[in-house]
Symmetry: C2
Subunit: 165 residues, 2 copies
DNA sequence: TATCTAATGTTATATCATAACAGTCAAGAG
DNA sequence: CTCTTGACTGTTATGATATAACATTAGATA
């Protein structure tokens, strides 16, 4: 699953490129430092692995890579690191894919939405303050106190839409 | 999991009451008839089971009930019926809970959003045409052709919010 | 009736996730 | 400096969710 190679090359512009990845990692580190978080080797490496991937990775895919590099080889190793990253806003969980992806702007508080390509499985993070605001209001109207939300869209990314046409 | 009893009684007004359930089932049947769908005994009973439940049910919970009534006792029996209902708009899948819930207005084409209570696990279906329209537009702006979307909010339902206060 | 297709059922297995506990290590208290 | 403490990492084991593949049955129809 989640091979994610794509005939046309990058389909996930935000994550692509080692330079981008380094920049995001640096931001994440600064963010951790500032917040007193311990970005330990496994956690840091897990974040790097997510950044190196185009698209989202399943926990067991992350685990495979960690294990190959001498970290623990059992599921909790990956899940703990991933959950840590998600809790602290350095990564996101993509529920529809049972997968995880690095956050592209880890310093800002934000709610994320994802656009998932049905064809190449690319995952694009979109910022959707206005959507979540609207949702918070709509929920409030029926007395529901919204705390978190999952917004995931499925369809065709620009590359695949072009090819399909 | 998903005990869903609630100290204050109903927390999922749309599904509550046998009369409501019957009405929705009737709508679903009419919808199936009109669309040439085969609402077979397992499928029909699966829908009833979802309607009888307050909140969402996991596939294995549905399976348990089906098996107890003489239907097949293996996972595919439940998954097939549930997937059929979801595909034809008679039920929805709630990803965050790995669960399914009957659609409360099966006749209309619609995109649904769910408000999931963290405390009592109630699931309320909300209609969110404006949200999905906004999302379709936002996606379109980056060249993404949106086909389906999952919108799920987590927080406190009105009953639980009141109690927590 | 013979045939075809959709639906149901079964076995087996894949995939995703966590509980529970043991060992490790760094930072602060004495 | 050493001991305690708490957070982190690691392991074993198991639970929970989901599907592939194939056999069987039931309805429609030629």
């Amino acid at each position: 699953m989640t091979d994610h190679s794509h005939p046309a090359g990058f389909c996930c512009p935000d994550h692509s490129g080692a330079a981008q990845a380094r920049a995001i990692l640096a931001q994440a580190e600064a963010h951790a430092q500032a917040g007193g978080l311990r970005l330990t080797p496994v956690r840091r490496r897990t974040l790097e692995i997510l950044l190196e991937a185009h698209g989202a990775l399943g926990a067991y895919e992350v685990l495979e890579r960690l294990a190959a590099e001498g970290y623990g080889a059992q599921p909790p190793v990956a899940y703990r690191a991933l959950n840590f990253l998600v809790e602290h806003g350095l990564a996101h969980r993509v529920r529809r894919l049972n997968a995880f992806t690095a956050c592209v702007h880890p310093t800002q508080e934000h709610r994320a939405a994802f656009l998932i390509c049905d064809r190449c499985e690319s995952v694009t993070e979109a910022s959707v303050e206005s959507l979540t605001r609207a949702m918070t209001e709509a929920a409030g109207a029926v007395g529901f106190k919204l705390e978190r939300s999952t917004i995931e869209g499925v369809g065709l990314c620009s590359v695949c839409a072009g090819e399909a046409a």
